[in-house]
Assembly symmetry: none
Homo-oligomer: 391 residues x 4
């Protein structure tokens, strides 16, 4: 009755996104189901009271049967098996790549050439030269570009970062990361991860996989990485694949790395598929600072400030009267956390549509590859390797 | 009343022990109070039903007032401030040294020359050359010799060793040691450790201190050490001594070391006076093996065999449903454990008096110094250092 | 055998202390039993390895029967009922006064005139003029002087002070003190405190009693007090004394005071003998700072740093999901704490014998009286009262 | 089927309510969603078996986009941006105002002039003169009028009132209120409250906000307020608004007030956005009486009657054996409690439609403003301020 004529219209932006690699585990679950589809289901990203971003999707892959099944699950999303044809389609603005690493570079080169904005999974490439080339190509082409750095949006890591911004740590001294768990060999108990992860010739290896993560995590949450000393190992030489066929492990399944960061901070990160977990979470990062320490897991974070630091007595003759877990306090939830992949997708779409800042570009992706490569070199040379600037 | 005529007389051996350095914390508490005095109070070491070892003690030191006070506490034990005079006294057979490291070599040379059996605290010396010289001097002189390696008798470490001997681990893959706690700077809260520990010029430094321990611990409990990569740091540059006087820290207060052991086992040990403790104990050692893992603290040890290894899910969106501490089982107490220092004293006295085996001789002490020296070299050269045999 | 002739002699200082007022509760329990007698029993105060202070005592009082009983309990300590005679005795160096407040000034004047060093209970006097006069008399006479400020050595308050020195609070914003408990009226349940506390004409009144404490506590632990707004009340008009005789309460039994401190810190202290305790301790002090808060009781202290500060939701419709006590962490014990009165006695004896610093002199005692007097004036005038410097 | 012939028809009253200010947090959540919409959803207020009150709503506001979004959420409730036009509409009987305080007076004057019944949020106005004028205007106009006093329907406060009515307290002696929590500054952690609360020029300030509440709470639950001594402070000078823009705080963010009530009861209330919570709830009110005490939070209430009052011992040398929280008993739930805002809305609608009593009129609203104004005056004059009758 009182509705005024001329009430404001709501603007809806509908960027088209080509999703390549959704038949893989990460592509399907994290990028399609929990990120883009969830965004669509909630009515898009609300920019303001009268402006919304609602992406349109096109699925691309090599296996038409799998694609069709996925399409059906998501209310008949369009799909095709011909990337080249998809790229010439002017209706799509963004190319996203979640293929295996060894296929990434070629597809990105084509998509850049087609003028698409680029978003992709890490590692950007299997070597630094290619990674830098891709970064430069995208920059010269003037397209927008970004790379997945999901661990930055893990609630536990965000809490660490907030603590740093609050000045909680005083001067940061050292960092200890423990990552991994026991991945079953596959003979008696089925394996939890695909076999290609354990084959060097298919882009496997924990150094290449994880050092990319540790690079952006350290750079963003603690301080920029300057140098690395790294040791790899193949602790379990024989495994069985998803079909029960025995194979030889040719890639490293564990790595013990030490990093020097800006400001003299030292960081030690163990990553292993051959370790059993007796700690707070699958990934824990302890930061010791002059004014306090924190230990973060995936979601939770515990702190022990200077004033709560106990004074233990070394006396092995009696059972220890201190429980060293009790002297820590859980950081309360001060904001709600969304799925890390979804959060980064929202930021990337805002970057493309509204030009919002998005610092996690292909240059950052190349830095991750750089650290992995330097780690492998350090292992080979048995010495520290210093990182050069990436441009 | 019921003693049979002709019952055997009890033989009591009374080796004389010169104790040099009992005015220090370790000398007084661990070696005098909890080891030798405890042995005397319990009536000596019972070798058999009719044979006992009851040591006689002579305290040597530089501060007569302190010595007198200690003497009074221990029922007027004899004391003197003149080591040379004590060494010529034929009534004493053993020379024990718990002085600061920089005073050890001179005193040992004199004691060896005087024909005394030698037992001493670690580090044997501040450099490998001197350590090897002392080992060779003692060997040539034909005296018996030993060095303190107390952590071998920590109940937790003994349990680890028993697990290895039981074949529990299968093939040992990797080891992670975490040692240390926050040592207060001394301005607002009094410091827990003496200032000389933080002064290089007085023999301080955590690399020299702890790598000696890690050498014998790894060699004896896991596998012999072959190579080391080591990084040291002085995280806290200013401290206050026992009298509240500020001083500059000149020695390393933290070290991050990786070791290669025989059989391809990799070990990573963090030692730090600038870290806060969120783990089971002040020292924890985790061993991961192909058939099971164990985590040992000073006294307790927890195991997770292959069959109890969980299969965690990486899902940061929901609070983790697994408590990773619950999948471990405490190793039950199967024997009673005595003070580590006392236990080794008993073994050394049996070695001297009854010629029982005592593998922890000055050569082993020199190996500890070797690892510390190699650690310092690795830090300086920023590269791995391989250990040579010590003879 | 090896004891050298000429081993150093130990020097023992034996200052004589006249104790006046030991028949009262505080004098007997806190000053004699737990302080001076405990010092004597432990062999005196150890200044260094070869120097000790061992006080000699003389008990003075008005009731010879009580004095004799006390003397007998403490191995026949000497006693007398004639203060004047005791004061002329050259063997005694220190005069200590724990009489009721209205008798203190006369006795102190005599003791100062006799050249004794002065130590006494608070309040120094019942009015500021007398308190300042006593301070000036003692200063001019050149004797050493001190006043009891026991709450400074409560472990909880020492922890607060350490937190401030650590910079834990950031900028201190506000302080809330809650002190007191229900003192039974004495008809059905016997009273816990003597009747004179509730009679103005005998020096009673909670403002006079407690504002002296809050003055030195705030001045030393938080920041100097600048102004006060104070309201007193006599909530319970009738009480029964120790003998069951009813009397009218003429003094204030509760006080609600607000203080302004240097640096803009605001402090609110409730003190009441008519309140029931639902909090951590009989005295709790909460300090809120820009970087963290703390709540201290008599012994314990709990902290909530900025990073652990929760974000509560105001939603009275559902039971509160947060337990507001869980977000706090207990400050660990980092040093051992002795009886507060004993600790201050040791410091005063070191001050007299060795000239060690002792800032808690009669001027500080006068400041306590000043705040109490200003509190009473504020109550009367119904306005804030600003404090003037005491000299 | 079983309806008797001649069964009475059900009468439904449908008063029209103009809701002004629903785009604000309180207006939207408490008044629209949880009160009026909830009443509509449950089928209205049932006066009797055959009589119901079912309000009709018209949303008024200044931002059409926000209004449209709200309208859509509540099944297309009508809305308009022109208050004048809404007020001339004869279909609406009641005007409700939840705008910011500085806009309230003008709107109320218009609504009264238009003959509407008046209901509004507190504070009624920013100064007492205006508040009294509004009360007199509404009275003279003969319209019904009321003001929100939600804390009276907090379950915890209702329990306190019931205890008073039961005579539980004996004579009430004193009251202590603690209100508030830490409102984040907004730099590292997003703020919980809108920026205007911290700007005096926009009607912010905790004294104006909270003393209105404490007036009706004390008047209704304890005893009428007679005089106030109040101190305000701006503890945090810089904050960041909802968009991350830094601004200067110009209003008080904490206040420390003492009140005298009828019958000699003394009340002390701390209200602060800069305090951390170590107590039972976000608001706690302790009442000490001659026969018993109670502590109420938002929902729960705990009591300690005379007979359960403990007799604590002051002995800081040993850890306190008493847990002072255990001596209290939770008051059981004897009735179910509804949302406070909804409950008062129901009473106001019954007042308008059925002339049921409603004592919380604009005069009571003016009294709240009076106490806030007197608090500000007391702060300025540094003295107690006595309240005059409001007529």
């Amino acid at each position: 009755m009182h509705r005024r004529p001329g009430a404001p219209l709501i603007t809806t932006h509908s960027p088209g996104v080509i999703l390549n690699g959704v038949t893989g585990r990460m592509g399907l679950n994290q990028h399609l189901r929990r990120s883009l589809w969830a965004i669509i289901q909630q009515g898009g990203i609300r920019v303001s009271d009268d402006e919304t971003i609602l992406p349109r999707l096109l699925l691309v892959g090599r296996n038409p049967a799998k694609l069709e099944a996925i399409s059906r699950e998501f209310k008949d999303l369009p799909f095709c098996t011909d990337l080249d044809r998809a790229l010439v389609d002017g209706e799509f603005d963004i190319y996203f790549d979640a293929q295996t690493t060894d296929r990434r570079a070629d597809a990105l080169r084509k998509a850049i050439a087609a003028g698409k904005h680029i978003y992709c999974e890490k590692p950007l490439a299997t070597d630094l030269g290619t990674a830098v080339e891709l970064y430069r190509l995208a920059s010269s082409a003037g397209v927008k570009h970004g790379i997945v750095q999901d661990k930055l949006w893990l609630p536990g890591m965000m809490k660490l970062r907030t603590l740093r911004e609050l000045g909680y740590f005083g001067r940061m001294l050292s960092v200890r990361g423990e990552f991994g768990y026991w991945v079953f060999e596959g003979d008696a108990i089925p394996p939890q991860r695909p076999a290609w992860n354990y084959r060097k010739e298919e882009g496997g290896g924990i150094i290449l996989d994880m050092l990319c993560h540790w690079r952006y995590l350290l750079d963003n949450v603690i301080a920029p990485v300057r140098a690395v000393s790294c040791l790899g190992a193949t602790h379990i030489p024989d495994r069985w694949d998803e079909k029960g066929v025995q194979y030889q492990v040719t890639a490293d399944d564990s790595t013990y790395a030490t990093f020097e960061l800006d400001g003299g901070v030292l960081a030690q990160f163990n990553s292993s598929w051959c370790a059993r977990v007796r700690r707070d979470d699958l990934l824990t990062v302890q930061v010791d600072g002059s004014k306090g320490s924190a230990v973060a897991g995936l979601r939770d974070c515990w702190i022990q400030p200077y004033a709560a630091t106990p004074r233990p007595v070394w006396n092995p003759e009696v059972p220890n009267p201190l429980n060293f877990f009790e002297g820590w306090q859980r950081v309360p939830e001060q904001q709600s956390f969304e799925n890390a992949f979804k959060r980064q997708w929202e930021l990337f779409l805002l970057h493309v549509v509204k030009d919002a800042p998005f610092p996690w570009d292909l240059r950052e992706g190349a830095k991750g590859v750089q650290l992995a490569e330097a780690g492998l070199e350090s292992w080979r040379r048995r010495a520290w390797v210093t990182l050069q600037p990436v441009n």
